[in-house]
Symmetry: C3
Subunit: 136 residues, 3 copies
């Protein structure tokens, strides 16, 4: 069994931002030498999301508007601690915290429109995404 | 380490359909010879879902109605591209894109009511689900 | 490749309860001797959830209230079978059924506020969570 672990640092300029990680994850997979396995791509913070969807700018706007409708900014119990990002915690649960992508023949094994995104909902600070590849 | 990768082709007759994949995934696990490991079952398209729940027809209707309430068909930015399936992209995020099932003693290691489903929300076309088993 | 599989029995006193599993999962990882790998933490029942978020009591109340807003108790088709827990099945889909945590240098590899929780939504009965560690 081989493994490789990397941490991608994220620091978005805006409070909210979608970052397409597919190219970077693919590069890590290719340079790992692992031919067959699984790669975990996971936010290490609970106010950001990692998800797979289509790289289409209109759709990314739809996702943001939808997340705001279902997990709106507002007053939360969590704000008693001085925080103001309760909605971002809920968006993490709604959209998802992580994905597992298959590695086959030394490469990411994705469908035609599958792209992996980092979705920041409380940005403008340094955060990490862990990428761990396991296989052989 | 051993691995086995299969692709299940799906082509539902209706635009929306739930397909119970448990038997097929179990068969792949048993015939892989892998005694202990993990199996990824993941949609390769972002307008379909893969999830674990109970195989009860009323509940599956509830899931469809619930997904329609939280991610309704309607007008989305994504439709500026000519697409009309914006709601299916959001349902993928709501319900989930993939599951990881444990493999123990050469078999799927599921609780009493756990079943794995493919949930199609933009069907009547050929799509794939990847099943990758990793273990020993 | 090494693996270790454990089952955590849950029996919450209340119908709904959040249980922080981080310490128990960490202990299993440390005692497994696995230095590098992945650990699956997954509900074996479909009316409970497993998720990663912040261990802050106000936030946990927010999560429960939010889940009740988006997947409210009520009348569901599933209740034709005599069950009354339709909302708990939907909360499982909303919040999530499982997480995969990275194992690095013999320990859970989590961000500063990442904690793994069991979220019970139909409790007061014995249920299991499977913890499977795979790695080397």
């Amino acid at each position: 069994m081989k493994s490789r672990t990397d941490y991608l640092w994220m620091e978005t300029k805006r409070p909210r931002e979608f970052v397409n990680l597919t190219g970077r994850v693919r590069e890590l997979v290719r340079s790992s030498g692992i031919q067959d396995g699984l790669v975990l791509v996971s936010a290490m913070h609970i106010t950001a999301t990692v998800f797979v969807n289509d790289n289409e700018s209109g759709l990314l706007k739809d996702i943001e508007a939808w997340a705001d409708r279902l997990a709106p900014p507002g007053d939360y119990e969590h704000h008693r601690t001085g925080e103001s990002n309760g909605d971002a915690h809920l968006k993490n649960l709604l959209i998802g915290h992580q994905v597992i992508l298959p590695v086959t023949e030394g490469d990411l094994d994705l469908g035609p429109w599958e792209q992996v995104f980092y979705g920041e909902f409380d940005g403008q600070r340094r955060k990490r995404v862990v990428v761990k590849i396991l296989g052989e």
